[in-house]
């Protein structure tokens, strides 16, 4: 079965006054139908940009997708005309943005913002669209939807706004939803509710989901496969189980180690990964993680490691790992 989405070697660069920022530098991943994958990494690693690239929403003229292919249902999205791409957005692929505060138009009612897509893709009239919007608001768990549908964004709380964003994304029943840090701006209890909501919706309609996050806790629960990004590249991927239990890249291990845990004694110090991500305008030669890696060997500075299979269906881009030693893993 061909995957629904195939991102092949995408390179998205930003041309700025200081130079060319290689935000996404050769990234590939697949999503099967009905599958949920997670794209993890710290801020600035390029995960959002790669998602925006799929929808061709990268901010022009500074940003441009330089090369690569994005195959959706075997059609290369990058070769579509603007008109055809517009028909895809919202209808086949939709995105839930990170900041519900600024991602909603302050002068339009919530209902109208939900029904807009329906008016365009499903040819509904405004009243029909509003009715459907009411139904969707109910689905995402907003109380009194028939009244709320005429409210404005500033009358909604943060969590409710995020639910409204979800409603907008699922309105036209897309085949793929991209959720960009859907829970970062809400508090923990709401986080859980929103994620369950998204999970139920995707299950019911067999929708594929790309979950972009830096929160490793939720990844484990919701995603089948995990892709770890660092400095514009994918450095490790595999099933969630494999990546969590036996990370094959020092960065992944570092990420996992930095999550505070309730079951460790309180006096245990937090373990951040020291240092900063590299400059994406002039990345260092060799492995991009070398400056922060504790397991760096000579080769790491000479060649950029490529993704290769270290254990079945588990890939990593690390010279040390490929040689077989993985000191960072817990011996268990």
């Amino acid at each position: 079965m061909t995957p629904l989405l195939q991102v092949r070697n995408i390179k998205t660069y930003f041309h700025t006054q200081d130079g060319v920022v290689k935000a996404v530098d050769g990234v590939s991943y697949d999503v099967e139908r009905g599958e949920t994958i997670a794209l993890v990494g710290e801020s600035g690693c390029g995960k959002t940009v790669s998602a925006l690239s799929i929808l061709r929403l990268v901010a022009e003229p500074a940003g441009k997708i330089m090369s690569g292919e994005i195959l959706f249902d075997k059609v290369d999205l990058l070769k579509l005309s603007d008109e055809e791409m517009r028909k895809m957005r919202g209808a086949k692929i939709s995105i839930i943005f990170q900041e519900p505060l600024t991602s909603l138009n302050p002068v339009l009612t919530i209902g109208r913002q939900i029904s807009e897509g329906l008016e365009f893709h499903k040819n509904m009239s405004v009243p029909e669209g509003m009715q459907e919007a009411t139904r969707l608001l109910k689905l995402v768990g907003i109380p009194h939807p028939e009244r709320r549908v005429y409210d404005y964004p500033h009358q909604f709380s943060g969590g409710m706004r995020q639910r409204a964003m979800i409603a907008i994304a699922i309105a036209c029943q897309p085949q793929l939803i991209i959720a960009d840090e859907p829970t970062t701006v809400v508090d923990v209890t709401i986080q859980a509710q929103l994620l369950e909501l998204i999970k139920n919706i995707t299950k019911e309609h067999n929708t594929s989901l790309i979950l972009i996050t830096h929160n490793l806790g939720i990844v484990a629960r919701y995603a089948k496969r995990v892709f770890v990004m660092y400095a514009g590249n994918i450095v490790e991927y595999g099933s969630a189980m494999d990546v969590y239990h036996s990370p094959c890249h020092p960065y992944t291990a570092g990420l996992l180690a930095s999550v505070p845990r309730l079951d460790e004694p309180r006096k245990t110090r937090l373990q951040p990964i020291e240092g900063q991500p590299p400059d994406l305008i002039a990345p260092p030669m060799g492995c991009s993680f070398q400056d922060r890696c504790g397991y760096c060997i000579g080769e790491c500075q000479k060649e950029t490691p490529h993704l290769s299979e270290v254990t079945p269906n588990h890939y990593a881009a690390c010279c040390v790992s490929q040689k077989g030693s993985r000191q960072w893993q817990k011996s268990s």
Binding site: S94, N105, E116, Y152, H154
Partner: protein
């Protein structure tokens, strides 16, 4: 919303009262009086005139009488034109001033807003640069200087247009352009700046991600938001328009309220001065009120405060 309007109207009356008070005080601080002529009048005559017009009463009494009169729509009798009431004089000039103002305002927005929008949407293009250049130039050159330049070109050199009077299209066109130049430039700049800012907002990206037509994105998402600041500054813009009209009227010898008012100041015509100030202050305050209401109507965030 209703309470908001009522409160604002009450505030308007208070403001007008204070304005009148300050004007009254200032006027009476000015040396000289309404009877000063080239040749001084006999003291007995002056005394009689003062008595007739109530100028011998204590100042506070004069003021109270005046305010009482105003509340009944009576603005007194002009001292210079002793057979006419101030109200009638002002009303005589009002249509011309009003027409000038309204035409200038409409013209200014009709030119300024589209240029500003076009400049923002096609940033760094020829339209953008010309729009910015022209709006900067016309925002800095005051209407009266522009008027002089236009007059020299079109009246003196080309003999196409007359330099004064009011009534025919040829007479109207230059004053209107001069008065409209500044607000047009301001609107253009504000619209451009605001559209640029709105264009890069997250919600515009969300709108595009829904796959709707680009024209819908522009109208419903970009413009509906970017035109709000234009309305917000409409208040001061209109105030500038009104004070500007008074100078333009003097330049082009248009018999509107402005000219009458200036003559009144020179001849110390107390009632005419008070009437003029009241007229201008009232108009500005009323227009500000309308602008505030309009603003609340378009921006739902304000409505619910």
């Amino acid at each position: 919303m209703g309470r908001f309007i009522v409160r604002r109207i009450l505030w308007l009356f208070l403001v007008l009262f204070v304005v009148l008070l300050i004007t009254f005080v200032l006027m009476h601080l000015v040396p000289g009086g309404p009877w000063d002529r080239e040749k001084a009048l006999a003291p007995k005559v002056v005394e009689a005139l003062n008595k007739r017009y109530g100028l011998d009463l204590p100042l506070w009494r004069q003021f109270v009488n005046y305010v009482w009169g105003v509340l009944h729509g009576d603005l007194g009798i002009s001292y210079s034109y002793s057979d006419r009431t101030v109200t009638s004089i002002l009303l005589h000039g009002l249509p011309k001033t009003a027409t000038l103002g309204i035409l200038a305002f409409v013209f200014a927005q009709a030119i300024g807003i589209p240029f500003g929008v076009a400049a923002a949407l096609k940033q760094n293009s020829a339209i953008d640069y010309t729009s910015v250049l022209f709006s900067t130039i016309f925002a800095s050159i005051p209407g009266f200087v522009l008027g002089i330049l236009l007059m020299v070109i079109f009246s003196v050199v080309l003999h196409w247009l007359p330099t004064s009077g009011w009534g025919s299209p040829q007479q109207i066109i230059m004053p209107v352009i001069c008065l409209a130049a500044l607000p047009a430039a301001q609107s253009s700049r504000i619209t451009r700046a605001s559209t640029l800012e709105v264009m890069h907002q997250d919600y515009v990206r969300t709108a595009r991600s829904k796959g709707i037509l680009e024209s819908s994105v522009r109208i419903r998402h970009i413009f509906r938001n970017s035109l709000i600041p234009v309305v917000t500054v409409a208040g001061p813009v209109l105030a500038d328009l009104i004070t500007g009209s008074f100078i333009i009227e003097n330049l082009f010898a248009i018999p509107g309220v402005g000219r009458i008012f200036v003559q009144g100041i020179f001849s110390r015509d107390y009632t005419l001065i008070m009437g003029g100030v009241l007229f201008y202050a009232f108009t500005i305050a009323l227009l500000n009120l309308v602008v505030d209401i309009l603003y609340a109507a378009i921006d739902p965030r304000i409505r619910y405060e």
